[in-house]
């Protein structure tokens, strides 16, 4: 009876120790040096494996972070600033504070403003339509409304409005991952600084045609008249190729420009209603 106990104990221990020993030797022989920080960084990342950083998954991003000398250009859209700060601490590297951004759609040409000139009947993809011709309206710059951006968004933050046929961004859901910006073949979407209370002022048009042509095809096109440029007290607006652009970092949301625009191409969103001029306060599509 005690035999069994002795045999058991001895053989089992023997096997255990033997296995440990062999393992130990092999581990020494086949050592691979891998940076242990990769694991640490990976744990600090959100682990969503969304590819928003343009790497194949979080681990690859972690490896990249460890490898790179300057990580300020490496950016995980999902991670918060704390996450990134933690990673920077692990790596002992500097990291740029991320300015919160949000996507805005720079086309306001709903069918009432921008009548259809033909009927598109190809595969329902903006990239395919845009590779074919100028589009189903007179404007060769405007949104095609086939929802490439909606499909690109992993966060359910951008949707085509059925009535206007234009995409609308849900500010709270948008992580500024840039996916829709890349997806849009017409470069209509821009990531802009996220202001307090989600306020925004921007020129909702990218048409570079001459004023007359642009206006003919779309009632709310920017015609490049330059009146907004003149009224802006902060020199935030520039005019190039018949198109005005408001620099989000220079703009201080004074709202002087919007009422100046003869075509209502400048949108202001999430502001309290204006008292004096009713016309401009009417919030056009693009608001959620």
């Amino acid at each position: 009876m005690s035999d069994v106990i002795i045999y058991s104990v001895v053989s089992l221990s023997l096997i255990g120790v033997l296995a440990a020993l062999i393992l130990f030797i092999i581990a020494q022989k086949f050592k691979v040096i891998e940076d242990p920080r990769i694991d640490l960084v990976e744990q600090a990342l959100p682990g969503a494996n969304c590819g928003g950083c343009s790497m194949p998954g979080c681990r690859a991003f972690a490896e990249e972070l460890v490898k790179a000398d300057d990580i300020s250009h490496l950016n995980c859209p999902v991670a918060s600033n704390e996450n990134m700060a933690e990673i920077a601490k692990i790596l002992g590297k500097e990291i740029a504070e991320k300015e919160p951004l949000v996507a805005v759609v720079k086309c306001n040409g709903s069918p009432e403003h921008r009548p259809k000139t033909n009927h598109y009947d190809g595969a329902s993809e903006c990239r395919i339509a845009s590779a074919l011709y100028t589009g189903d309206t007179g404007c060769p710059y405007g949104c095609l409304g086939l929802g490439e951006c909606e499909r690109a968004c992993n966060f359910d933050a951008i949707h085509i409005d059925k009535e206007t046929g234009l995409p609308v961004v849900i500010d709270d859901k948008c992580t500024a991952c840039n996916a829709c910006v890349i997806a849009c073949p017409r470069n209509i979407i821009e990531l802009r600084k996220k202001n307090k209370k989600d306020r925004k002022i921007f020129v909702s048009c990218i048409n570079e045609e001459k004023g007359g042509v642009a206006r003919k095809n779309c009632k709310v096109a920017c015609i490049g008249c330059g009146r907004c440029v003149k009224v802006c007290p902060f020199e935030a607006i520039t005019l190039e190729n018949n198109l005005a652009y408001i620099d989000p970092f220079k703009c201080r949301l004074c709202r002087k420009c919007a009422p100046e625009c003869p075509t209502n191409a400048i949108l202001e969103i999430n502001f309290p209603p204006r008292k004096e001029k009713k016309e401009a306060a009417e919030t056009p599509a693009g608001e959620k």
């Binding site: 000139t117 033909n118 009947d121 595969a123």
Partner: protein, 333 residues
């Protein structure tokens, strides 16, 4: 301009075939075999077919409408083909409730779970049939006698199929020459006077339908020919080696579901390879596995299993067997 002109990428012209026409083409091709079945099995053939087709179409409708919440596409005819082919794979005295289970499995598990037409990796009708065969081995292997039980449905006189007789006999060590006396002659096999599943009898009618499918370009010849030739070669070798223990190739291709399988079921679009070379591999695989199961396996018949097994290989075949690219191997001269 009041009416807007249409703009779309090229081409601007389309061929005449569409999914509906193809599917109803298959239905048409199956008609002769159906009539043969009705002639031999009578009321049973009618009931089984009606129940199977209606329930397949019905289940597809219900699943699409209520589970997948999409617009039902039952008019494309693919569910009807599945229902018809499922019926062709069942004995004509099968209780209605078993047919319903078969249809639910074929359409629900075999097809719609994968997203419906074109998505299923396994042949839905065969999924239904094998599911039933394994679930209800008794009911699925009692086949009514042709002609005599035309007016009976459930309590038809049953008997064994030629393949069962041969298999059982050989396992008992009875020489083949003696067994051949117990089965119908080759002419009867050819026109379908034998025990068997509803639609697998009647090689002649099946071949006529097959010629129609080929002429309409609904199927290509590669799969049927590769299956049949493999079976002929393989069984021919076995037969030549020991004619007393192995049936001859003629018997093999005329009995059981080989014709039905090779012409109508192995050719199912969704579950067969895309290139001629792939089709040959697929067909040879089906032939070899069929004979293996018939000769060495537990089941007297192996076509259904072998098609399902080769269905599983199809994605791999499609991945590695590519069509001959233009300009690939430059043999200029």
């Amino acid at each position: 301009m009041s009416k807007l002109i249409t703009v779309s990428p090229s081409p601007h012209m389309y061929g005449g075939d569409n999914v509906k026409k193809l599917m109803y083409g298959v239905v048409l091709a199956l008609l002769p075999a159906f009539l043969v079945s009705v002639y031999f099995f009578g009321i049973g053939a009618l009931i089984v077919t009606a129940v199977s087709v209606v329930s397949c179409v019905g289940f597809e409708y219900l699943i699409q409408k209520h589970l997948m919440k999409t617009t039902p596409t039952i008019t494309d005819g693919s569910a009807a083909v599945t229902g018809l082919l499922l019926a062709f794979n069942l004995p004509t005295n099968l209780p209605v409730w078993i047919i319903l289970i078969g249809a639910l499995v074929a359409i629900g598990v075999g097809k719609m779970s994968f997203g419906g037409l074109g998505n299923n990796p396994f042949n839905p009708a065969l999924v239904g049939r094998i599911f039933l065969l394994i679930s209800f081995p008794v009911q699925m292997t009692s086949f009514p006698k042709p002609i005599v039980s035309r007016t009976q449905y459930t309590d038809a006189v049953t008997g064994a199929t030629p393949l069962e007789i041969i298999k059982e006999g050989i396992s008992e060590g009875i020489p083949l020459s003696e067994l051949m006396g117990q089965i119908p002659g080759y002419f009867d096999l050819f026109i379908g006077r034998m025990h068997g599943s509803m639609g697998e009898i009647g090689a002649l009618a099946l071949i006529i339908g097959g010629i129609y499918l080929l002429a309409r370009k609904i199927i290509t010849w590669h799969i049927p020919v590769s299956i049949l030739s493999t079976i002929i070669v393989f069984t021919g070798i076995l037969w030549a080696a020991n004619p007393e223990a192995n049936a001859d190739p003629m018997f093999h291709i005329l009995s059981g579901g080989i014709m039905l399988g090779a012409i109508y079921m192995a050719t199912d679009y969704a579950t067969s390879p895309m290139t001629p070379k792939g089709m040959w591999i697929y067909g040879i695989g089906i032939g070899v596995i069929t004979v293996t199961i018939r000769v060495w396996g537990a089941y007297p018949e192996g076509v259904a299993f072998s098609i399902l097994i080769m269905n599983a290989f199809v994605p791999i075949i499609n991945k590695y067997i590519k069509p001959k690219r233009f300009g690939e191997e430059v043999k200029n001269g």
